[in-house]
């Protein structure tokens, strides 16, 4: 019902703005493209909810450059073609000087050529494929970590866990392949034997064949890279097939709370990388920001399982506003230049951009903290090694 009201309010606002012709002057628009329907709908909606909390906080505090900000959130339907359409609509029709999006690596990679074509920067809030910041697109500014950063952070943990032989199970897309490549490289360099590398369609629901193969390989640890829905099914089916190997989920789109709620006992003993641990906000770089974000989430009555996704959108809006403020005007090129200088205290940590990719066409990349949690006694805990 709240969604419907929000939709109606949005429509009324839009019609009002168009009628007076003053809408564009009253607010500074920021375009958001997220998968609100389709395979990634759950995560996309959480990120969108996170952006709404930040929008409300910023506007209650007076907005930016004396104006309120207005988020225009478009649904890219978890589909790369639709993602391109949403970006064109946001830039051409809404004239947004800055974008936030597009959740999955495949969706982000699909819209990147459009950013160069229209010369509008985008803050990438979730995607992890290395290709995004290494392909020489100077309009990309990523606040989420790359798979490579995640794998590097995992290196000491692999030693503690005593991993001898690793297997991989990942979605057959940019996100999954990028993650398995980076983890595989890191583990191999540290003397770990690499077992089967099994893939799956992002929409698949049955992984019995892959799990049977992994079980027979004798691997002691399986690195799983996918979104939470498939992760839940993999944990359940691994238990059905009595897979003894330790399961580590990578990529941070794993919502351990939702996994526990839905996989139950099958989640026991699994490990999950995350970039924000809402179970222990005190360990994060900026505990006061983490707690403010969590309070906003609670106030709106959003699903607690979405806390591990929503902060991505929340931080992205704060970074966007910091860049607009530094640019001094809602102009795409000025904002792009200003993004290089932003320092924002976020849930992701102290956000600022380092250069990645070919010289002269570098993309911006933030270096967030990576956390590992363990499911033990039906609860999310800090792992003890």
């Amino acid at each position: 019902m709240r969604k419907l009201l929000g939709l109606l309010a949005g429509t009324v606002f839009f019609v009002g703005g168009a009628a007076t012709g003053a809408g564009a002057q009253d607010t500074i628009k920021i375009g958001v493209t997220q998968p609100l329907t389709g395979a990634f709908a759950a995560s996309g909606n959480y990120v969108a909810q996170g952006t709404r909390i930040a929008e409300e906080e910023i506007n209650n505090a007076g907005g930016v450059l004396g104006k309120k900000i207005q988020l225009i959130i478009e649904d890219n339907k978890s589909n790369p073609t639709e993602a391109v359409t949403t970006v064109e609509k946001l830039i051409e029709k809404d004239k947004v000087p800055l974008l936030i999006g597009a959740w999955s690596s495949t969706l982000t990679l699909a819209v990147m050529p459009k950013l160069e074509e229209y010369k509008v920067p985008m803050i990438v809030e979730t995607s992890s494929s290395g290709k995004i910041t290494r392909s020489g697109n100077p309009y990309v500014f990523r606040i989420s970590p790359t798979s490579e950063m995640e794998a590097t952070a995992f290196k000491p943990i692999a030693k503690h866990m005593g991993i001898k032989k690793a297997a991989f199970l990942y979605t057959n897309n940019d996100f999954g392949i990028g993650s398995a490549d980076e983890y595989g490289k890191m583990l191999k360099a540290n003397g770990v034997e690499i077992g089967p590398r099994e893939t799956m369609d992002p929409a698949a629901t049955d992984f019995s064949a892959q799990l049977a193969k992994i079980k027979a390989s004798g691997a002691d640890t399986v690195f799983v890279t996918t979104a939470v829905e498939q992760l839940t099914l993999i944990l359940k089916q691994a238990k059905e097939q009595q897979l003894k190997a330790r399961i580590v989920s990578c990529g941070g789109s794993n919502s351990p709370d939702q996994v526990i709620a839905q996989a139950g006992a099958a989640a026991e003993g699994s490990y999950h990388t995350t970039f924000f641990p809402p179970w222990f906000p005190e360990v994060t770089t900026n505990p006061e920001v983490s707690k403010r974000y969590m309070a906003g989430w609670k106030k709106h009555g959003f699903n607690v399982g979405g806390l591990t996704e929503g902060y991505r959108g929340y931080d992205a809006v704060y970074v966007a506003v910091a860049a607009i403020k530094a640019a001094g005007k809602p102009d795409a090129e000025a904002i792009r230049k200003a993004l290089w200088g932003v320092h924002v205290k976020g849930v992701y940590g102290d956000i600022h951009f380092i250069k990645q990719g070919p010289a002269g066409k570098e993309s911006g990349q933030n270096v967030p903290t990576v956390y590992l949690v363990e499911v033990k006694n039906g609860k999310v805990q800090k792992p003890q090694f």
Binding site: A42, A209, Q210, A212, G218, T232
Partner: protein, 308 residues
């Protein structure tokens, strides 16, 4: 070239591991095949016999799963009773779709009907998302958490239950079509509606009944598989793709064909993913379907009667 005489232990260990993996693959394929067959039989009634390209099949499947979630998790209804209720609700929804949309399109060309059904599919999927949000939901089941173990292979009790119920539903559908008066009237109606009407068959009612039964079977598949997997709005898309594959493979309108087609698809996927490449798991099934259709263009069990 392996010489077991010189390295008996090594050889045995290797063989046993390969054999246990193979057994697990076989068990998985049999269980999965029952699922695909169940998805196929509901569609073979509607697509194969009625000749309606039913794009809402996947959504009726999702509807069954959401019914199961609502009944078991929200209203606390008994797990087994919920399956029957979900099937009844699926039949009602199917009858509603037939009466509101399809009964007006009976003389329309196939393109018009397809467009209307695509529209219905999108409306149904978005309605599910609006009511339940995109977050995946899970349904608890009364079966023990520990799997049923056959030597080195194992399978969950829930999946065994799904398999048994699926076989019962398939057998029931077969008997309904081939051994009952309603089944005879159904076959007559879709073979030649004018003659059937002249013989006193009320073809309007038969159309509604057939669509309702097919929908009920789709809902049953969703209600059975919802607890195995998770319930989410997009769950019907892949299910529908598999159902169409199974029906085309087996031959339009044939219940034994859909059953065999379901098992063939499951074996192709499971063994293809296990021994060739899991990345092409979904492609394996379709490659096999193309090969079979090249040899038998009407599918494995094409109906002997002419339709239309």
């Amino acid at each position: 070239m392996r010489l077991p005489v010189f390295a008996p232990f090594q050889f045995n260990a290797l063989e046993r591991r390969d054999l246990s993996e193979f057994l697990q693959h076989l068990l998985n394929a049999v269980i999965l095949g029952g699922t695909y067959a169940l998805l196929g039989i509901g569609l073979t009634l509607i697509f194969g016999i009625m000749r309606v390209v039913n794009f809402t099949h996947g959504e009726l499947y999702a509807f069954g799963a959401y019914c199961m979630y609502a009944l078991v998790m929200r209203l606390g209804v008994n797990f087994y009773l919920s399956l029957l209720l979900a099937m009844a609700l699926g039949a009602l929804l199917g009858a509603f779709i037939e009466l509101v949309l399809l009964s007006r399109l009976r003389r329309a060309d196939i393109d018009t009907t397809m467009l209307v059904m695509i529209g219905a599919w999108i409306i149904m999927q978005n309605t599910e998302q609006w009511i339940w949000s995109g977050v995946a939901l899970s349904v608890k089941n009364p079966f023990p958490a520990n799997p049923l173990v056959f030597g080195p292979a194992s399978v969950s009790w829930l999946r065994v239950y799904v398999f048994v119920v699926a076989l019962l539903l398939i057998a029931g559908t077969y008997l309904l079509i081939n051994r009952t008066k309603l089944g005879k009237a159904m076959r007559a109606t879709f073979q030649d509606p004018d003659t059937a009407a002249l013989m006193g068959v009320r073809i309007g009612r038969i159309n509604t009944a057939t669509f309702a039964i097919g929908s009920s079977l789709a809902a049953a598949a969703g209600a059975l598989l919802g607890p195995v997997f998770v319930v989410q709005p997009a769950m019907g898309d892949l299910a529908a793709a598999k159902a169409f594959a199974v029906v085309i493979l087996g031959g339009l309108g044939s219940v034994p064909g859909a059953t065999v087609g379901g098992f063939i698809l499951a074996f192709a996927e499971e063994l293809g993913a296990g021994y060739i490449s899991s990345g092409y798991r979904d492609a394996m099934g379709f490659v096999l379907i193309i090969l079979i259709l090249l040899i038998r263009p009407t599918g494995l069990f094409a109906r002997k009667e002419r339709i239309g």
